[in-house]
Symmetry: C2
Subunit: 342 residues, 2 copies
Amino acid sequence: MIQPVSWLEGTLELLDQTLLPQRELWLTLTRWEEVAEAIRRLAVRGAPAIGIAAAYALVLAVWTAEGEEDAGRKFAEAATGLAEARPTAVNLFWAIRRMEREWSAQAGQPLDTIPNALLAEARRIHAEDIEGNKRIGGHGSDLLPMGSSILTICNTGGLATGGYGTALGVVRAAWSAGRLEMAYLCETRPLLQGSRLNAWELMKEGIPFRILVDGAAGALLARGGVHAVLVGADRIAGNGDTANKIGTYTLGCVAARHEVPFYVVAPVSTIDREIEGGADIPIEERAHEEVLAPLGRPAAPEGSEAWNPAFDVTPAELISAIITERGVLRPPYERSIPAALA
Amino acid sequence: MIQPVSWLEGTLELLDQTLLPQRELWLTLTRWEEVAEAIRRLAVRGAPAIGIAAAYALVLAVWTAEGEEDAGRKFAEAATGLAEARPTAVNLFWAIRRMEREWSAQAGQPLDTIPNALLAEARRIHAEDIEGNKRIGGHGSDLLPMGSSILTICNTGGLATGGYGTALGVVRAAWSAGRLEMAYLCETRPLLQGSRLNAWELMKEGIPFRILVDGAAGALLARGGVHAVLVGADRIAGNGDTANKIGTYTLGCVAARHEVPFYVVAPVSTIDREIEGGADIPIEERAHEEVLAPLGRPAAPEGSEAWNPAFDVTPAELISAIITERGVLRPPYERSIPAALA
């Protein structure tokens, strides 16, 4: 199993995903600021994975603290700093809140036990994610007919999570169950997580795939033979509207036209009930350069400008179901989401 | 005006579009086989431009012929060879047929007058294209409200035509008429004609633009403020179904959902009445490498496979109008197309 983030004797080992698939470089991080920077520059990415990385980063923050006051200050600083690293994926804030609750629960305990208590909580978050992903995989696989071909976007595999995957976890589970024939991967511009990361993961496991440019999704579904579109999520609003990698909404439009089931695949930690609808989800805009210079090589003439939102919002009406570790949620999501979270 | 193809004293001067915008390299071609190769490798591309290049190539074929028999053999060989260079754009076959008619008309004329007669016909094809494009630009501009923003895909400008452009010709005309506020350019993977070529053309003329990844089209139209989607065409079937750059159909789905007018912009030479519907248009599949290695730099792990159709088909029902030099054709196209061609 690919584990992009792991704790090793007081350090966080992190696979630098910006260099894949050409190079497998593991970073050894000892300060929470380094983790925040890794999140910002997408060395670790994927909503669940950045939540897990942030949880471990909060352990790093207090690991070498000197005295209670120092620990408290560092923990608070790190919680604030990490929350500012990226704005859209809610799992980041969710993981920080879980760690803050653990911190509060440790109030009054001797300082030398606190880091280990926090570490235990981070490990629980991590282990629960993997366990949850596997349940998600089973629920999703059950929805696919035998001999299925699916279309997916971005990387939602082991690299994007604790180690198994959400949408790509369904691909894994369907392959194990003998239900999968072909995974079509949108290359996922601008950062090519489809061709760089999904392909890398699937190739390691011998799961058959084909890469297509994002614009070819329409032609693929028009050709027929694709049984489902599977996408991850960075934040799901209370009404089911879903923010995910830019291009996801475009897939939703195409899937709706061809009446191909469109499944959002995510742990319930991705649901943000404080947000009513997709219009309120903050969408990160990233550097023009990501668009203008693919893989760092300039395509557009100098001085060109880009429009580069990292995410888009797919409205609930285009989503056939949300596949979570607590089961398959169906519309109306205003009812099924609260039931799942209860 | 950008003229990607021009005749100069017995040679064809051709701007190598694979190197733009970093390098403006002009090729000097003296043999039709070189032109066929330039078409195949996309040094010249865009349906009208490859038609024009092929017409000049047929002049090259007989330019240095020795005797009537030699000229006849070379012309026939070139006509066959050029027609095999690319399968989808019908303007290629249309231009070759026009040149064949001119060749037949010259039967019995002294050999030393034939190359010049053919050259005159190629120049007419070229000049008519530019003239037609300008009329197209006017018709299209008239459809746009003042202060329009438009979305387009691939390059359909001077580089893709005789020198003015189809969809980008409408952008030019609308800008001149003070109707255009912003041109949004899909970068157009795999070969990035949007960011490489459209941006290069618009920057030269100071027309404001923003580049986006192809998948962001949905998010852009959802945000609002885009008044039309303008696309070119490589072949239009008798019923209006239109083959164009991969990604066009995906735009059509998104435009339909947002009720944004979706205009196909092309000269009538792009209409192929011999083909009833889009399903019969041959679609070129190109090398996997174009997808797997953007700008030649590998993204996917070695051994990955791609699905890389160069075009897709947008069904007539998604097309609000076809803008031609003979006016704006509206549905039902089974009626308006024959009327325009009459």
